[in-house]
Structures are given as structure tokens and as C-alpha cells.
């Protein structure tokens, strides 16, 4: 398992680096067409082959990584931030503010997330801002709920009561005493969340709903490629591999992050002492 996680970290690092360095690595313009060479299979000249317009698939996959990852990271960062602010504030203050937040969370989570994002993007039209907005609307609720639950526990702790007695303000208590305790929870949740957002973003782009058609994303590349499965399977093969590898390696990293931040969950140490026959099943499990 450990080797598999290292593999995950390595693959993710490699793809992130290629996405950041895309303009240096991809020597060809992803939007430059060579119609006479369309459907050319992979070769030393064009690593991933050429698509139906004769554009370089390798460059498209690299630039697609840039777009898909930028959007997904922004969505996760924004959702986490909104969830942290709203969730911790409502749990800490309680009262009508908390009731209101809980009702809003119930409403959003009653909706299947992908469908809501799809409906929002469909009515608002394709653009990066709309895509990020739609995915954040559906995304922040799970972070807020998680944070709210944890803060309800934390605010009863002695050190928080102590700080209150010493006259610290609500915002100081939240920032200094409560937020640091949420770090590991949010780190794990947002790592797994990233995989979900990447899949959702690509799914929307696949349906032609994410970004304007001229921007290459993994989803739109897969959508183009599926029309030429016979002539040129390479068009959808490579973006598909890239997407699946990223999601897979993020999941492996998520498991790693969880174990690293919650040593109690490490199966080999504490659990094994309690019951010698215990198993590792709980570690590979979404919490």
C-alpha cells in the first residue's frame, strides 16, 4: 500500500509539473491545425498523435491539464474557504444563524450535486467563472457541514471555555483556537474533494457545458475523441489516461494524507495492539 501511495504522489507531482510547465514542454500550439495530417497516429514527431483537425494531441492534453487543474484547484480552495467560514461561524454562534445555515445546507444537499452544477452551467452559459460558481455552489455545503459538526464539539472544550472566560472575542477564538484543529479534517476532505471536482468538471466539459469550445480541457478532448474511435482511438485514449491517472493518484494521496495527519488511524500501530487480528480495512475507507 505504501509503495502504491508513493506512486500516487510521484504521478500527481509529475502531472502538476507538466501542467505548470506546459508552454515549455508542449512545443506545438494546441490550436494550430494541419488538416492534411489529420488522424496521424502517435509517432516520435507527435507523441500522442494528431486529432481530427491535425492539431497536436500531446499539447492539447498538457494545456487541458492546465485548465482542468486550475479550475478544480480554485473550486476546492473556494469551497473549503466558504465552508470553513460559514460552517464554523454558524456552529460557534448558534441561534437563528445556525438554524438558517442548516436549512440552506439541507436544501443544497437534497439535490444531487452533479445535476445541480449541470443545471446551473446550462442556464448560465459556458465560461470559466460560471463553471467555478456552479461547482462551488454544490461543493461548499459538504465542507460547511463537516466543519459545523466538528466545531459543535470543539466549542465545548476546556481551552475554548478558558479563552471565553479570559474575554477573547469570537473571531479570535475561532481563528486562534478552533481553526487550527480543523486543519487535518479539511486537508483530507479537500484532497478527496479535488478528485470529485476534477471528475465533475471534466464531465460537464464532456457534455459541452463547461468552458467555451475553443478551450482544450480533458472533458472536451474526450468528447471530440469519441466521434473518431475507429479512425483515431488515440484522440480519446491519452486524455482519458491522464484524467484517470490524476484521479487515481489523488485518491492514493488522500489516503496518505489521512494516515499522516491522523496517526491513530495507522493500522499497524495502535489498532494492532488493541486486537491482534485487526485489519487495515478502515484505512482505505472514505470517512
Amino acid at each position: 500500500m505504501k509503495r502504491l501511495r508513493l506512486f500516487g504522489v510521484a504521478v500527481l507531482g509529475f502531472i502538476l509539473a507538466s501542467a505548470i510547465l506546459a508552454p515549455m514542454i508542449a512545443t506545438k500550439d494546441p490550436n494550430r491545425f494541419h488538416l492534411e495530417k489529420k488522424f496521424q497516429p502517435p509517432s516520435a514527431h507527435a507523441l500522442f498523435g494528431l486529432d481530427q483537425n491535425g492539431a497536436d494531441v500531446f499539447s492539447q492534453v498538457l494545456y487541458g491539464a492546465r485548465t482542468s487543474l486550475t479550475i478544480s484547484f480554485s473550486v476546492v480552495a473556494l469551497s473549503t474557504l466558504i465552508g470553513l467560514l460559514i460552517g464554523s461561524w454558524s456552529a460557534y454562534r448558534g441561534g437563528w444563524w445556525d438554524i438558517l445555515t442548516s436549512r440552506v445546507l439541507d436544501m443544497i444537499q437534497a439535490f444531487p450535486g452533479f445535476l445541480l452544477a449541470l443545471a446551473l452551467v446550462a442556464v448560465m452559459g459556458p465560461s470559466a467563472q460560471n463553471l467555478i460558481f456552479a461547482l462551488c455552489i454544490t461543493g461548499w455545503a459538504s465542507y460547511a457541514r463537516l466543519v459545523r459538526g466538528e466545531v459543535l464539539h470543539l466549542k465545548e472544550r476546556e481551552y475554548v471555555k478558558g479563552a471565553e472566560a479570559a474575554g477573547a472575542s469570537s473571531s479570535r477564538i475561532l481563528v486562534r483556537h478552533i481553526w487550527p484543529n480543523l486543519f487535518s479534517l479539511l486537508a483530507v476532505q479537500s484532497t478527496f474533494g479535488l478528485a470529485g471536482v476534477i471528475l465533475a468538471e471534466s464531465g460537464l466539459s464532456f457534455l459541452g457545458l463547461g468552458l467555451p469550445p475553443e478551450t482544450p480541457t480533458w472533458g472536451s478532448l474526450l468528447n471530440q475523441g469519441r466521434r473518431f474511435l475507429v479512425e483515431a482511438p488515440h484522440i480519446s485514449l491519452f486524455p482519458g489516461i491522464a484524467l484517470s491517472l490524476v484521479v487515481l493518484s489523488i485518491q492514493l494521496c488522500g489516503d496518505g494524507v489521512r494516515e499522516w495527519l491522523n496517526p491513530k488511524e495507522r493500522p499497524a500501530t495502535i489498532k494492532a495492539c488493541a486486537t491482534p487480528s485487526d485489519n487495515k480495512s478502515s484505512s482505505g475507507f472514505k470517512g
Binding site: I108, L116, A122, M124, F206, N223, R226, L248
Partner: protein
Amino acid sequence: MITFLRRILTTIPALVGVVTIVFFLLPLVPGDPVDLMLGEQASSLDKAALKHDLGLDLKPLPRFAKFLSGLARFDLGTSFTTHRPVAAEIAERFPATAELATSAMALALLFGIPFGVMAALNKDRALDQAARLFTLLGTSLPSYWLGPMLVSIFALKLDLLPISERGGIEHLILPATTLSLGLMAILTQVTRASMLEVMKEDFVRTAKAKGASTAQVYFGHALANAAIPIITVSALQFGAVLTGTVIVETIFDWPGLGTLLFQGIQSRDYPLVQGCVLVVALIYVLVNLLAELLYAWANPKVRVG
């Protein structure tokens, strides 16, 4: 009984949420939805008629009342492209989606649970490793890549199965497999973990000691007790299967709600989009309620508490 009733009542806020969110979709359309649907050149008479039809000539509150009273009569408005009632369109497409979603669900249960049990029985051996790998791959391969790949292998290269459209069972195999893989992977993982948990219990040892056969012990005693998380996860994941149909139906040209929604989006047929989103979301809420009721029924501790 009271617990069941209370659970049914807790669905009401969710229903209100779904209806409210769907209602607010139309005002989110940038600019004037009527202009977008009819084009700038349409006559002002047509525009006014459509505006009235959509209720856009009303203030928000009366419009919401109109929307609700329509819902109460199963009136979801009229499709702008086909000029037929949206409810009729949806009723026509619904069986195809139901067929696809339930087959995918059945496939996932049929393969996921036995695979999970076998993995638990062979913990840390090759079969278990295979199950872990399957879980990882199943949750990482998106349907919009898996689907086209399956088509290119089984339909185009090997010519074993038809590519698309609805028909006999052979038409169902590829779309249902594509749709079920993710859930199958999750079920394998949950079954494995739940079985490992249960197999440590005393009653399993007792059953073994009194001489029950291996199959009786594992499939009778252990699996029955490991079932609660499996039931809960399957029912909760049914929502994912349901939304997954939008993509899978588009890939395989499956004439269900997903393709209807997609058509609606492409032709900016907002009443149709609203109707499809509403119906899928309502089914999702009801399935989640069913999951809770099943859970309460399977777990007496919850029923009493």
C-alpha cells in the same frame, strides 16, 4: 411506525429545497430567456405569448405560486421545441432511464457483493489485492472515458455488441456496465470492510464451532449481519447512478431522461430543462428516503431510538 412517519416528514424540507432551487434556475439565465429562446427577430406577439406561458410577466411571488399550483397538477409547463406538455415528454422517456439505472444497480450488487465477500475471506491474498485494485480503478475511471472505450473494443473492434439505442438485452450490456462500474467498486470495498468487521464477532465463531458449513457461516450468518452498511451505501449511491445516466445516456444515445435533458439544454428549452432536473432531483430525494427507511427497518436499534 411513528419513527417511519417522522422520517417521511423530514423529507419535506428537502422537497421544498429542490422545488425552490429549480424555480430559481430560470431567473439565472443571463439576459432575457424569451429573447434567447425565440431569437431577436421574433414578433413581439410571440414573445409576449411565451413570456406569459413561462410566467415571466408576473412578479416573483405570484410566479412561484403559479409554479407550485402547476406542480400540484403535474403540470410542468409546455416544451418550447416540441409544443407538448413537459410532463408527457418526461413520462415517455422515464421507463428507459429506469431500465438503465436499475440494471446498473443490479449489476453492481450482483458482482460487487460477492467480490467483496471473496476479498474479505482471502484477506491480503491475491484476490484481495485484485479487489483493492478494482476499487481504485472503478472509482477513478470516468464513465465518459470508459463508455467510449468499451464501445470501441466490444462494438467496433470485436463486433460483439450493438453500439447504441434501446432494444433487447444486448443493447443494455454496454451502457449498464459503464454506469455500474463506480458503484460496483464502492460496493466491493464496503462489503469487504463490513465482512471483515463482522467476521471478528463471537457469533461467527459460535456458528463455526457448532459445525455450520463454511458457506452457511459466511453467506448466511456473516453476510446477513454485514448487510446494513451495504444496504445504506447502495441506496445512497443510487443517486450517483441516477445522475450518471445523464452522461451515459448521451454516450450511448439512450432515449431516457438524460438525453431529454441534454436536448433541452442544447435547444435552450428551459421548461424542459426545469422539468427534467426537477423529476431527477425528486427521485433522488425519494430514493434517499427509501434508504433511510430500509436502514431503520434493517437496524432495530435505529427504529427504537
